[in-house]
């Protein structure tokens, strides 16, 4: 399993692996929104939690179809399915690898982009924490969506449509936590719910995703 994780990370880092894609997209959103909305600091500060969370979510979405589609194309997925690792473990490891190359860098860079959007200092910590707790759910749910659409050529559109509704709770609680943090209200409740979504999806969805892959390999 460690070998699979290393391989996926190595593939993402090498040329054409798409490591910087989500990060660049996130950066673009944070740079472009102030230009589009206008320079009023109060407006920017108010919409910053939502914008940053939507940006993180879309940046995650961007690289989802690579999770299994590339392995399906070159036959690796068939070989992994006959390997000693259970397919559920393959899904979990690949979701983890996806998080390590998209969710984690997004989380780490987010305070910097928070400054660009005039997010208050009180909100910065909550933003970091909420993204840290919430982005793993985005990767796991995304892996499930990618597993459902793995047999389809250019399944990207269907994948987005399938996954977006599943992302909504994460988005709502994530943005809500930051927004409450900015206002100085109690942000713990949405954070706990966010952590609950992550824990629940990480526990259940690898099984669902593995089942979907088995159906798609027929």
């Amino acid at each position: 399993m460690i070998a699979l994780l290393w391989r996926d990370l190595r593939l993402a880092m090498r040329a054409g692996g798409g490591f910087g894609l989500g990060l660049a997209f996130f950066l673009l959103i944070a740079v472009l929104v102030p230009l589009g909305v206008g320079p009023e600091m109060s407006v920017l500060g108010r919409i910053a939690p939502g914008i940053l969370w939507v940006g993180a979510l879309l940046a995650c979405l961007l690289s989802l179809d690579r999770i299994f589609a590339l392995d399906m194309e070159d036959g690796s997925l068939d070989l992994l399915a006959t390997a000693p690792i259970p397919l559920e473990g393959v899904v979990a490891v690949k979701a983890l690898a996806h998080w390590l190359v998209t969710g984690l860098p997004l989380t780490l860079i987010s305070p910097l982009l928070g400054i660009l959007l005039n997010l208050s200092w009180a909100g910065q910590g909550w933003l970091l924490l909420s993204l840290l707790l919430g982005t793993p759910a985005l990767s796991v749910i995304g892996a499930f969506g990618a597993a459902l659409t793995v047999g389809l050529k250019r399944g990207g559109l269907l994948l987005s449509l399938l996954v977006l509704p599943l992302y909504v709770p994460t988005l709502i609680f994530g943005a809500e936590a930051v927004e409450r943090g900015v206002r100085g209200a109690d942000a713990l409740t949405p954070l706990i719910l966010l952590a609950g979504i992550t824990a629940g999806s990480a526990a259940l969805l690898p099984f669902a995703a593995a089942a979907a892959i088995r159906v798609n390999m027929r």
Partner: protein, 211 residues
């Protein structure tokens, strides 16, 4: 060597795209034996191999073999272009819990290419790397689907020698191929008589349409 067959296929029927292609396929494969599948295009050689490998469920019948004894090699080699030959092979060795890739590199004549990225290999070299993967799985039963595609004559001989070495060590193999591999000891199974009588309709036909 035990008289108990490690791989037994009984009354197997398999389907492709919701249509039954083969039925009543039965055979057993003992250690040290090779079985060559023959039959016209579309008869279901690939489907049969995938069903035996457990990649798709059988329509009827059963396949029995010891757990984790099968190594499947399909039309695609499962290579990553940006990884080198040694990295590709090392990954599969690690997945199967084996560390040493040198014997496999030597057996398939890949030592001079070990640090070359897989995307810069020729089709035949990629195939050799894909077949070298079988040696690092440590699995006794090889399921090979057209293993000699894009191999030159010398490489085919090299591969036949590898297969013979595998058989001598008590391994066994099922090979779907059209060419003469130079394995006179191998049994040949012609799949044409097992062609499914009529296309399946009804309960299973909707399965292919799922998603």
């Amino acid at each position: 060597m035990s008289d108990h067959a490690p791989l037994a296929v009984r009354d197997l029927a398999c389907m492709r795209g919701g249509v039954a292609v083969l039925e009543r396929v039965s055979f057993a494969l003992a250690p040290g034996q090779a079985l060559i599948l023959r039959g016209p295009n579309g008869i279901g050689k690939t489907t049969l191999l995938r069903t035996i490998a457990g990649l798709q469920p059988p329509l009827a019948g059963e396949v029995s073999h010891p757990a984790e004894s099968l190594a499947y090699a399909g039309h695609a080699d499962g290579l990553k272009g940006v990884l080198t030959v040694a990295e590709n092979l090392g990954f599969w060795a690690a997945i199967h819990g084996l560390g040493d890739i040198e014997p496999a590199l030597q057996a398939m004549n890949l030592v001079p290419l070990r640090d070359r990225a897989a995307m810069h290999l020729s089709a035949g070299q990629k195939r050799r790397l894909g077949l070298a993967r079988l040696l690092v799985t440590g699995r006794p039963i090889w399921l090979l689907d057209e293993p000699t595609v894009s191999l030159d004559t010398a490489s085919v001989q090299l591969f036949a020698a590898v297969v013979r070495g595998h058989l001598v060590k008590g391994g066994s193999t099922i090979i779907a191929t059209h060419i003469d591999l130079g394995l006179p000891e191998a049994r040949v199974l012609d799949l044409a008589p097992f062609k499914a009588a009529q296309p399946l309709t009804g309960a299973f036909s909707g399965e292919g349409g799922f998603l």
